[in-house]
């Protein structure tokens, strides 16, 4: 939070000076027209205006002053520009008068480096071009001409297979060009804001990202690069939100992007991340929008979509861009069982395409099977791309040739959407109130967790059959014994159920760590610290089937002062079924057995039946029954998301 950031600001100022060629804003103002403009700006209090605050990325700081979120020194013309919007405005005005003959080397004129500031100040102060000559900005003009943008689209990348962490999503912008669009949407340019990590060490990566030690920068590149990365390599569905901005607003956005091209922001995963800075770009484009002030500590990509959808008339239309595996699955949905079998057999043995029985099939049937197989081959090929850098063709040539010889095009290319729009999902924070009854007494439970989605919750807008929870806290008050107790505090709890597929035999797995109530020890609801990890498989007979069966083996380590030798270590198995009666009603029945041969020798059994009924997007009711050893417990809860 701000406290962490303060000394980082110091660091970046020191670092910034190394790169910086200072502009001496403190020199006395000689040009009378400049003097007049500066005075006029002061009178009109331009530096207090929202547009200027946004152009400089100024935010109110702890001392009620201003600090810019931009951290690259070259982004400021005044030496104290990072913390003084007024001084920066005056220095900016002064720099616009710079004699172009005095520019060094390849340096660009400040009017060309800060075109969005120039545009806004010119409008506010009605610059007189005879007294303040407008500079030609050749590179900028070429850039704008090539981008030729009329529209902006926000892209959301949804989650991918067997990785619940990807449920957090990612966002980027697309600059839609008039002339490129005619040749193909893929040729448009994308704008990404991302950290530039300088380490591959996962732990360092996480820590540095949290305290803002990475530099976040904006990058611009062809949209197809991102489509290859997300749709084909990671196989994530993309949702494209076309925004209603006027051509003038789009122009301002691009001019400001140009300004940002040379600077960086300290990258913070949670608040100053990709979603945050893309929203701040939109705020510059249209100062009427209030997007970034709605967050108080973290910005999730899914939330940015919700915020955009809440702005009346901002989103013009939404399009779905299926990932390569969604395309493949969609084709499988059109297949008869025999065709699916052929596909599975060919995946195992590609030579079967030459088999007589296969060759005898009708052309449309062969095409459907081969098209689906080609999707698979491309996906697999891209996964292995790094292993075969000398093999430009990632798909077997003989299969491609076989398919082309059919001389047949699929009449129906429609793809079923396998993911759902993120704005339809429940909020990421959850509060919970519950009333329960065990064999002895009545109890109340309150709970809160900041993120993200549990397996029983409605999965609209999230990945299917997955769970990722952080800091899930539950406190209980037992009426009879008049005691407050920590029921559980799960630091992390992840479940990923991927139904068995003959082609992708992805395992299901779970991982959790946290403080729990010891279920089998008579110690007055005492706690233990426990870690548990499991691995297994899930099964669903078809996409439409309401039943998802799962089974896993797991290992558990647990420590508590109430255990003999203060710990126990063991393993066991868990299994059960998830049933979706309707979209709003999900039931889970599961059983769990654990044996601890090490430390406190013991065995535990647990049976639970839990069900959730969704009342609204952000409200669900749950009824849960649990039997642990010989104790029973029933809970009714109300869960509110926000």
């Amino acid at each position: 939070m701000p406290a962490i950031r303060i000394h980082l600001i110091g660091l970046s100022i020191i670092f910034g000076f190394i790169l910086h060629t200072p502009v001496h804003a403190a020199a006395p103002v000689k040009n009378p027209y400049l003097k007049m403009l500066v005075q006029q700006a002061q009178q009109e209090q331009l530096s207090e205006k929202k547009s200027w605050r946004r152009l400089g990325h100024y935010k109110t700081n702890l001392f009620n002053g201003f600090t810019s979120e931009a951290d690259g020194r070259a982004f400021f013309i005044a030496p104290n520009g990072k913390t003084d919007p007024g001084a920066e405005l005056a220095a900016t005005l002064k720099s616009f008068f710079k004699n172009p003959e005095n520019l060094q080397g390849k340096a660009e004129h400040p009017q060309c480096n800060f075109p969005a500031r120039y545009k806004w100040l010119k409008k506010e102060l009605a610059f007189d071009p005879r007294q303040l000559p407008e500079q030609p900005c050749v590179r900028l003009q070429n850039w704008l001409k090539q981008l030729d943008s009329k529209k902006i689209t926000l892209i959301f990348a949804s989650s991918y297979m067997s990785n619940p962490a990807s449920m957090f999503g990612h966002t980027l912008l697309r600059i839609d060009s008039d002339h490129l669009d005619k040749r193909g949407k893929l040729l448009n340019y994308g704008v990404n804001y991302a950290a530039n990590p300088d380490t591959t060490n996962a732990v360092l990566y996480a820590l540095k990202g949290l305290v803002g030690l990475f530099h976040g920068t904006f990058t611009v590149f062809p949209y197809y690069i991102k489509v290859q990365e997300y749709s084909n390599w990671e196989s994530r569905d993309l949702w494209e939100y076309e925004l209603n901005l006027t051509p003038d607003q789009v122009n301002t956005l691009l001019l400001h992007l140009w300004e940002l091209g040379g600077t960086y922001f300290d990258y913070y995963y949670f608040d100053e991340n990709c979603s945050y800075h893309l929203l701040s770009l939109l705020e510059v484009a249209n100062p009427e929008l209030e997007l970034t002030d709605q967050f108080f500590y973290s910005v999730l990509p899914t939330q940015t979509i919700k915020i955009l959808m809440e702005q009346e008339g901002l989103v013009a239309k939404v399009e779905y861009r299926p990932s390569i595996l969604s395309r493949m699955k969609s084709k499988k949905e059109k297949m008869v069982p025999e065709e699916k079998q052929w596909l599975h057999r060919i995946v195992d043995d590609p030579e079967l395409v030459k088999n007589k029985a296969f060759q005898k099939r009708t052309v449309p049937s062969k095409a459907l099977i081969l098209d689906s197989y080609l999707d698979y081959l491309q996906y697999i090929g891209m996964q292995r791309e790094k292993e075969n850098p000398d093999q430009p063709l990632l798909i077997s040539h003989s299969i491609l040739l076989e398919r082309s010889r059919l001389k047949y095009k699929q009449p129906n290319q429609k793809v079923i959407a396998f993911s759902t729009r993120p704005e339809l999902g429940h909020g990421s924070d959850r509060v919970r109130y519950a009333l329960g009854l065990n064999d002895d007494e009545l109890f109340q439970e309150i709970g809160y967790r900041p993120t993200l989605h549990d397996i029983l919750a409605k999965d609209l807008g999230y990945g299917k059959d997955s769970q990722i929870l952080f800091f899930d806290l539950k406190l209980r008050y037992y009426y009879e014994s008049k005691k407050y107790r920590l029921y559980s505090f799960r630091l992390i709890d992840i479940i990923s159920l991927t139904p068995y597929d003959p082609i992708f035999t992805k395992p299901s797995w779970k991982l959790n760590l946290g403080f729990y109530t010891l279920p089998d020890i008579d110690c007055d609801h005492c706690n233990s610290f426990k870690g548990n990890g499991g691995y297994g498989y899930s099964y669903k007979s078809s996409r439409q089937s309401p039943f998802l069966f799962f089974a896993m083996v797991d290992v558990t380590g647990e420590t508590s002062g109430h255990l003999e030798k203060n710990y126990r270590l063991g393993g066991g198995a868990t299994g059960g079924v998830l049933i979706d009666f309707t979209e709003d009603w999900r039931l889970q029945i599961s059983g769990d057995y654990k044996r601890f041969p090490l430390g406190h020798e013991s065995e535990t059994y647990q049976l639970s039946v839990r069900q959730r009924f969704s009342v609204a997007q952000n409200l669900d009711l749950r009824l849960e029954y649990r039997r642990i050893e010989h104790r029973d417990e029933g809970i009714f809860s109300v869960n509110v998301y926000f």
Partner: protein, 167 residues
């Protein structure tokens, strides 16, 4: 306070998945405005890790560092557009050629200047002549383009409607 909680959360998350969404993966770079791409070698997008777009006078080195495919403004060189597109989308293009249709194929047709109404014809041409356009497992994107170019030039109608085909 929340941030400290989140520290732990991130630590756990990233430690748990080496391939997690948080870890920067493939191709997190682009042309211009920050970092520059497009090495001439195959494989995934190559990052040349230049940290500039030359917007500011003090940072011009990136422009001259291995970025022959980028314009001075940091966008794709217009005369290289087709080659770069073919190279970066090669798997998608060859698959769609065999299938006879698809977005990448349509985009490639667009890059040959073919008019919208000939996309279907373009698809049939590349499907019917797939074996002579992509001749083997080792055909490179540039070889594919050369073969495609001559197929288009010899086609009765496409040679006329695809304005960027050099006869």
């Amino acid at each position: 306070m929340k941030k400290f909680l989140l520290v732990g959360m991130m630590f756990l998350a990233t430690a748990s998945f080496s391939n997690s969404v948080f870890a920067a993966g493939y191709g997190d770079a682009g042309c211009g405005l920050g970092s520059l791409v497009f090495g001439n070698e195959g494989g995934p997008v190559q990052v040349l890790a230049s940290t500039t777009n030359g917007t500011f006078g003090s940072q011009t080195f990136g422009i001259t560092t291995g970025t022959s495919n980028c314009s001075p403004e940091g966008l794709v060189m217009l005369d290289k557009e087709r080659e770069i597109f073919a190279q970066k989308n090669y798997s998608s293009i060859v698959r769609e050629m065999a299938v006879g249709e698809g977005e990448n194929l349509e985009t490639l047709a667009g890059l040959f200047g073919c008019s919208q109404d000939t996309r279907n014809e373009f698809g049939s041409l590349v499907q019917d002549n797939f074996g002579s356009i992509v001749t083997s497992d080792t055909t490179s994107p540039n070889e594919m383009l050369i073969h495609l170019q001559s197929q288009l030039a010899n086609h009765a109608t496409l040679s006329k409607s695809c304005v960027a085909v050099m006869g």
